[in-house]
């Protein structure tokens, strides 16, 4: 089985900080970071409480996966960025470090140009954090942080 993504407090705070900055600097309504398998990593802006971020994350991953499939069919590796324009709000998605998707939701108070510019910088910063995560995971040799869980703990979860 492929080893999953494990994020510690410091790394989580770092990527959340980048998303908060991006939300502010790009005048965006919502910014969220999703792993390519549809798990929400973090979010900022209006996302807190108001939006169904779990559904958003899953649909984002589905969309990116479908576009990736289309890309391969026409001989492209992937479509690293996507932009969807709505009547009031628009959506910008970009793949970061081949592993996560950075999503920005914005309206007329911002612009595609500004979002693109800020996303570029934020992507580099997130990429650096993910590099640290990957290095740490490689150096621990994929050892499970859950090795201490007992069979009993697992059984208890399912006993009613």
């Amino acid at each position: 089985m492929n080893s999953g993504l494990v994020m510690y407090d410091e790394e989580f705070r770092a990527v959340t900080g980048v998303c908060e900055h991006l939300c502010r600097d790009a005048n965006a309504n919502v910014v969220f970071l999703v792993d390519k398998n549809g798990q929400l990593i973090t979010s900022s802006g209006r996302a807190k409480g108001e939006l169904d971020t779990t559904s958003l994350a899953s649909l984002t991953a589905g969309n990116v996966a479908a576009m990736g499939g289309l890309a391969k069919l026409i001989g492209e590796k992937e479509f690293p960025t996507q932009f969807h324009e709505g009547e009031r709000e628009s959506l910008h998605m970009s793949i970061v470090a081949g592993r996560v998707v950075l999503v920005v939701v914005f309206d007329a108070r911002s612009s595609l140009g500004l979002v693109r510019l800020r996303v570029k910088k934020a992507s580099e910063e997130i990429g650096r954090v993910l590099e640290v995560v990957a290095k740490r995971q490689a150096s621990t040799g994929g050892q499970s942080p859950f090795a201490e869980i007992t069979d009993e703990d697992i059984d208890n979860l399912f006993s009613e």
Binding site: N2, F12, R13, I41, S55, A147, E148, L157, F158
Partner: protein, 195 residues
């Protein structure tokens, strides 16, 4: 591929329900959704055609409880069962932690079941997974139908390895939670091993 967040103390895992068209994958999720407390579930999303056939996937986020202070969340997905949606099925298997194969017990679906298992094995292999090494559970659905073939035959055809398997009547809920618990348990055991 699980996601463990130490900051929010959450474990997220992905389970995929696979099987031939109309075998009851969506029905499994609908039953789980209907019978789960509102605080333990998120919104169920179904990307379906106008005739309610799954077009891309169904999605149901579920919280199962805590292990050593970590909230365990399972994301349940179904694939579209119809043969020609193979490209979509492959995408949904990305990052999977555990698979439920829902078989249709009816005699006329014997070939469709076998074809679907082979398709599952092949699509997993393309993503670098080996079905024999992945948490895997089989559900024999539609046991209440008159054309259902004996359990022993289904087992012989679909479960040579003897993975956990369950008889089910998904619309009535029979076997639905047993199946889910069995696969979730296997996923957590795998996570403990370090994947």
């Amino acid at each position: 591929m699980s996601f463990i967040n130490y900051s929010s103390r959450e474990i997220n895992c992905k389970i995929v329900y696979y099987g031939p068209g109309l075998c009851g994958k969506t029905t499994n999720l609908q039953y789980v959704y209907a019978k789960t407390n509102p605080e333990s579930k998120g919104k169920m999303i179904s990307l379906a055609t106008e005739t309610e056939r799954t077009l891309f996937f169904d999605f149901l986020p579920l919280a199962l409880g805590e292990i050593r202070g970590f909230k365990t969340r399972f994301h349940l997905y179904t694939v579209p069962g119809q043969v020609f949606y193979d490209a979509s099925r492959k995408l949904i298997l990305k990052g999977v932690d555990g698979v439920v194969f829902v078989a249709d017990s009816q005699e006329e679906r014997v070939d469709a079941n076998l074809e679907s298992v082979e398709n599952l094995r092949g699509n997993l292999a393309e993503q670098g997974y080996d079905l024999d090494k992945l948490p895997y559970v089989i559900q024999y659905n539609k046991r209440d139908l008159p054309s259902a073939i004996p359990l022993a035959e289904l087992r012989r055809d679909l479960n040579p390895r003897g993975v956990p398997d369950f008889e089910a009547v998904a619309p009535a809920g029979k076997g639905v939670f047993e199946t889910l618990k069995a696969v979730a348990k296997q996923v957590l055991i795998e996570l403990k091993k370090g994947g």
